[in-house]
């Protein structure tokens, strides 16, 4: 996880808006990624990330400096996304609104782009099958390399609750992946040309 300059953080806490803008620039990607993985739509993720930074800005004085700043910020994002998920119940996925990737391919290859989109879509639809808190735990574990203890602090759960959520989520993901790949294989066979 990116480390923020302590002086910038201190300035932001003292009300320096320029310093806070630097915080936004530093953490926009991890916050947006968490929101995107949680909500599955780029526009919703953008709104959630903006809301996260606004909440952080409002409550910056309450931030405990003993705690890593990234954990605090991601905790705000995770809680906001969990609330959004609970409000809307049915997750949706818009493939046409996929955001930019880390390393864009210099040579455009339509087949490859489509395959990537499909893979991302599959991954997002797998995540969408999980409950909001289970999903948040999985995202923090596999995209941010958080330990169980860090996940517990971020999501305000006990370590044993995190362990059981991770176990349940991993099993659910494996089973969903199996059914998804079976369905995808059957679909491919159906569409194959008999001449080939």
């Amino acid at each position: 996880m990116i480390n923020l300059d302590a002086a910038v953080l201190r300035q932001a806490i003292q009300g320096d808006e320029e310093a806070f803008t630097r915080i936004v620039e530093t953490y926009q990607r991890p916050v947006f990624n968490l929101c995107y993985r949680m909500l599955g739509q780029a526009q919703e993720a953008e709104d959630a990330a903006q809301e996260t930074f606004w909440r952080a800005y409002q409550h910056l004085r309450r931030y405990d400096q003993q705690r890593p700043f990234a954990t605090w910020l991601l905790s705000i994002a995770a809680h906001y996304c969990i609330d959004q998920q609970r409000k809307r119940r049915l997750p949706t996925l818009a493939l046409e609104l996929m955001p930019d990737e880390d390393a864009p391919d210099p040579a455009p290859n339509p087949e490859r782009v489509f395959a990537q989109l499909e893979e991302k879509g599959q991954l997002q639809s797998l995540l969408a099958r999980l409950g909001p808190q289970d999903r948040a735990a999985i995202i923090l574990r596999y995209w941010y390399e958080f330990s169980e203890d860090e996940i517990a602090k971020t999501l305000q759960l006990t370590v044993s609750a995190v362990k059981s959520r991770l176990h349940r989520a991993r099993k659910e993901l494996a089973l969903s992946w199996e059914s998804q790949s079976t369905a995808s294989l059957a679909e491919r066979r159906k569409n194959e040309s008999p001449a080939l």
Partner: protein, 179 residues
């Protein structure tokens, strides 16, 4: 066949298992096709997640945040101003309602009428006393001093009224700036 604790183990980080546990898990996987399949699928998902990159927002995120922040700040200030008005209004209403309830339960109609008459006569008496004080003052002081005093009182009153109107306008339109 019992899948526990093997199912738990295979979904966890293998490095957290002891050597004996790893051997037991391996033996169980050789015998149990369900656990073998689950393990294979979990490893595929895990690799997919590890390979999935961190997605970035559209360019200009912090610029959009700054623009949004200005709007949110204005909204928040207005909301705060409304909260202040509502708090004052409801406190005044609560005091008035409390007074009315107290009067309703602890006074008779005759006492109400008596109180109103007493209040009116006191007010009229006070106004009369003020008028006689002012006329006495005007009789015994020179005209220039009177004029100065009246102008000062009038200007102060107008200034206070303007200040009050400005405060109401600013609070309702711009809100309270909380720095």
């Amino acid at each position: 066949m019992s899948h526990q604790p093997f199912e738990t183990w295979l979904l966890e980080d293998r490095r957290s298992l002891s050597e004996e546990e790893q051997q037991n898990l391996q033996q169980h996987l050789e015998r149990c096709s369900d656990c073998r399949r689950l393990e294979a699928k979990w490893q595929e998902v895990r690799l997919e997640m590890r390979a999935a990159p961190m997605v970035a927002p559209r360019p200009g995120f912090s610029r959009r945040f700054q623009a949004g922040m200005a709007e949110r700040r204005v909204r928040e200030q207005r909301r705060q101003a409304w909260r202040v008005f509502i708090a004052f209004g409801s406190s005044a209403a609560a005091v008035f309602a409390g007074f009315m309830i107290y009067a309703f339960f602890f006074s008779t109609t005759a006492e109400w009428v008596q109180s109103v008459v007493t209040l009116l006569s006191t007010t009229v008496g006070a106004a009369e006393t003020t008028r006689s004080l002012v006329s006495t003052w005007m009789q015994f002081t020179p005209f220039s001093l009177n004029l100065t005093v009246w102008i000062t009182v009038g200007v102060t009153f107008c200034f206070l009224v303007l200040l009050w109107v400005f405060a109401i306008w600013r609070t309702s339109l711009v809100g309270v700036i909380n720095k």
